[in-house]
Subunit: 571 residues, 2 copies
């Protein structure tokens, strides 16, 4: 069935759930008028529906492949990528000076979500470019910016992130790639990097690698890492591409899904590179790129969930099976309680995850302007939740989508399985979800819980005002927020970080459950008596109660976990 | 890493969790001495480790294929199947008169579990034969039994189940295949069946299809269905195979996983068949086969979970990453709290699911002997839980296995992804898990909850006695059982079945959570102060609390669910 980008959903989110108007009211977003926002969403949605979605399955069936050292992408991807690039969709938040539209991050997030639902494998390419643009905007010299940014923003060139080495995955500090200074101010880069998404391809005339490596004599660990720009082809001063650089695609991975996205092992062999940011400042610069990308990956999960949901709903509405168990039913399997439960769960979870991602994006936008430090702290707090819960939702919803299809879900021709196979990587890359959860309970609670409490104050204040009209929905949200508050208090009281880490993933999921209740409540208030109130009731009565078990797990501490020894696990 | 069948785990289960001795004490199981049980488990485990497991990946890489109308199986499957057949492993519970060993169903379940962990795709073949043997033992004429059973039990011939048609999936009553009586007492069968696992292959000299079809003038729905034996080759009186029958393999499905198992569309074209059981009695006979198969599919889920767990644990123990966060750690990623949480969750869930399946198997055994009607009701109650929770555990644990592997989990060469892709179908076939949940809250509660209350009495009585020595573990189990009891009371009070169905899947999962707590508590008591107590504490403190949210969902009723209209879902 055909994908339809959920443009209306973003309109509603912006107006009623995350208050985009508070962002666009700022002078720096003067161009982001309601008409512009509307036009951008509509046109991006059209590209998704008409151009990207039709190539989704081709990417799965005909994986990108390495031929004589050159990566050939899947059929149809070239035209679809061109539509993204030529439409200006690579990076709508990039600065106008270099050809971007300077729009809020909330719009970028909406577009990433929609494009991921249409074709995740292809969308990953511009997502990585977005991260690179942001890193260069913050850390590159004016000269490097002038040379690279217009090419990246226009999509003529694409960007990659080169962190991981075989022995250095989540532990980036263990990497061994080296950078030797040259007389001309450049560096010779050597080393091998793995899991480089879109590490090589034939969609653009250049592939720009941001590479983490060590300068001679650099200290061990993350403090001795610097960031370098290493393009596939060396740019000439006029911006055209010149000689090939010393970057070789060694192999592509055979993956469970996302076949249309080439995942490369890259070998840098005395490749020419240029420092980005200060010496030994690579991790900081890379974090700029990663934080952006983490929200982007959360949006990927949500977008795929949307695609899987639409696919399953269309199947269920069309499929008849047995007598309808209800009077005046549709006659389709949607009449069956468990099928309706699955579909309602999918829709309610997508809303919750999307609202969290949007709230994160708006906090990023506000943090760069009037919102200041408080908004920045909000964005920092929500980023790991948006990434991990967005991607867990992508996986869980895609899995339910298979189940709704019954036997047809396991048959590849249906397309239901591809959503799960594709989205499965999103909980792994850009920092595994376990890393996100550790980030949440350690770094993001280093403020003593201040950012979390501020958010819970907002949740409880809203629930208080909603109590008058929707008491049956407002009360459970308020109570859940209290349980979460107590759990945050418990967490920040634990000096031993392992006590926090031991329940960090259930904590993150419990946090997301509560936030989902809050945003559903906002939607119910905005559309009282309507479909959104009914969906909110489903979520708050049926899914929100899960927060209690999750948060009990979060407060269990580390003792019993470490009491289970490796020998116990192997017994 | 090499699979090692968990033989010790079954020994422990039999001795301390499900009391196999009470079964084998019965005269009909005189042969099932402790020595025999030990020898059977050990030898079956050896076959799994040395013969079946090494072919697992070959099945994935080289799918069974249809060539000129003949199905060719994956490399290595022929030898591995021969080891199963010649070792007498197809059906150890089958009657001794026809060549079986007459062992308890609990042993069959253990063997199915172990073989599924080694190679799910191949194990599905004898599992289907087991179901067919049981159906014939109960419903076929003595003549048919004498002709077919020795061949099926020896594995020379294999069995299939032919229920589903394109328009009739979960709604079996909608099937259209026809059977016309012939003068010689046989029938001419015509129709097309889909999703026929191992519907054709080259591992055995005959493939025996049990086919549901309608006699002329039969009433609509399930009451007008009869069961027929339709062999691929017509057997001669001496048991050798004769002429080809009118059964044609139209195509094989391209599936997300389980590539080694050929899933066929079969066309019956005036095929010769013989009635099994009475006219129009097909559903009853098929249910015999399905109930057996449902427990067997539950065991499949658990077995795959075991394989995925061992695979992930070996990877985690081997993988170093970053500084160890604990003193005197292993230096591997097992030292990291979230990795240990994932591994502990996997192990604790496998134990819970396996104990439920074993309790179901023992109830089946007791129900055929001294246990009588009460044991039969227990078996009937536990079957849908064993099937659905076993397979959900297979999926959830395989998914965690991927996550433990990090980026390597998404790369097919690792083998982690295959577990998930293979096991994903188990929550769909043999009655989707949604169908299992409906069965649990409707048919299995038609006794007013009597069987459920009897089981909860057992749980609470055990928790009472355990309270003295392990109060921190016993109390939560007792309280969870009370919450479950209240939920069962609520359910049986709902005259409108949709009110039960609306929360049936969360109910089933909540029921399994509570039973898991009970069986973990039994293990903790049996090995007080040991590894099993530590695992039980992990489960009871961290996973058992989930029951509350699930059971709250179960009690939410149907009103708000059906208030969400199909238009709401599509909005």
């Amino acid at each position: 069935m055909a994908y339809r980008a959920p443009v209306d959903e973003f309109r509603f989110m912006f107006d009623h759930v995350v208050d985009l108007a508070a962002v666009t009211a700022e002078a720096r977003f003067a161009e982001a008028t309601p008409d512009t926002v509307e036009a951008v969403l509509t046109e991006a949605g059209r590209v998704c529906d008409e151009v990207l979605a039709p190539t989704r399955r081709d990417g799965d069936l005909s994986a990108a492949r390495l031929e004589n050292g050159v990566v050939r992408t899947s059929p149809g991807f070239d035209g679809a990528y061109r539509a993204i690039a030529e439409g200006g969709w690579v990076a709508v938040s990039a600065g106008e000076a270099q050809g971007g539209m300077g729009l809020p991050a909330a719009l970028t997030t909406a577009i990433n979500d929609m494009m991921s639902g249409a074709n995740l494998a292809l969308q990953l390419c511009p997502l990585l470019t977005q991260g690179q643009i942001e890193a260069l905007e913050h850390h590159a010299s004016a000269e490097m910016q002038a040379l690279y940014l217009p090419k990246l923003i226009s999509g003529e060139w694409t960007g990659t992130m080169n962190l991981t080495e075989a022995q250095a995955g989540s532990d980036v500090g263990a990497l061994r790639s080296r950078a030797e200074p040259e007389d001309d101010g450049s560096y010779r880069i050597s080393g091998q990097k793995i899991y480089i998404s879109w590490g090589d391809h034939d969609l653009a005339e250049n592939v720009c690698h941001l590479v983490l490596a060590r300068l001679p004599g650099a200290e061990a660990g993350t403090r001795g890492i610097s960031l370098f720009m290493v393009p596939k082809y060396l740019p000439k001063e006029d911006g055209s591409v010149g000689a090939a650089n010393g970057v070789r695609t060694v192999s592509l991975e055979h993956k469970m899904g996302l076949h249309g996205s080439p995942t490369a092992v890259l070998s840098f062999e005395d490749a020419k590179g240029w420092l980005v940011g200060p010496e030994h400042g690579g991790m900081k610069a890379m974090f700029t790129m990663m934080n952006n990308a983490r929200l982007g990956v959360g949006a990927q999960g949500i977008g795929v969930a949307e695609g899987a949901y639409q696919h399953a709903l269309a199947y269920a509405m069309d499929r008849t099976q047995g007598r309808s168990p209800v009077e005046n039913g549709t006659g389709s399997i949607v009449d069956h309680a468990d099928v309706r439960r699955m579909l309602a769960t999918m829709k309610a979870e997508i809303f919750a995850a999307r609202a969290i991602a949007m709230a994160c994006a708006v906090a990023i936008d506000r943090g760069r302007g009037a919102g200041g430090a408080e908004a920045q702290a909000r964005a920092a707090l929500l980023t790991p939740i948006a990434k991990a819960f967005g991607t867990e939702t992508g996986i869980a919803v895609s899995d339910l989508g298979i189940q709704v299809h019954g036997g047809m879900g396991f048959v590849e021709e249906t397309g239901a399985a591809q959503f799960l196979r594709d989205v499965r990587v999103t909980s792994i890359y850009e920092g595994t979800n376990g890393i996100q959860a550790m980030d949440l309970v350690a770094r993001k609670m280093a403020d003593g819980g201040e950012a979390a409490f501020a958010l819970l104050d907002e949740v409880e204040a809203f629930a208080e005002t909603a109590r008058e009209h929707l008491p049956d929905l407002a009360a459970p949200v308020w109570e859940a927020a209290e349980t979460l508050r107590e759990t945050v208090e418990w967490l920040v009281g634990q000096g031993d970080l392992n006590a926090r880490f031991a329940g960090s993933m259930p904590f993150l999921k419990g946090f997301a459950r509560v936030l989902g209740g809050y945003y559903h409540l906002r939607a119910a208030v905005a559309e009282s008596g309507g479909a959104r109130e009914r969906l909110a009731r489903f979520y708050i009565m049926r899914l929100l109660p899960e927060h209690a078990g999750l948060l009990a797990h979060a407060r269990a501490g580390a003792e019993d976990l470490y009491a289970l020894t490796p020998d116990d696990l192997a017994a």
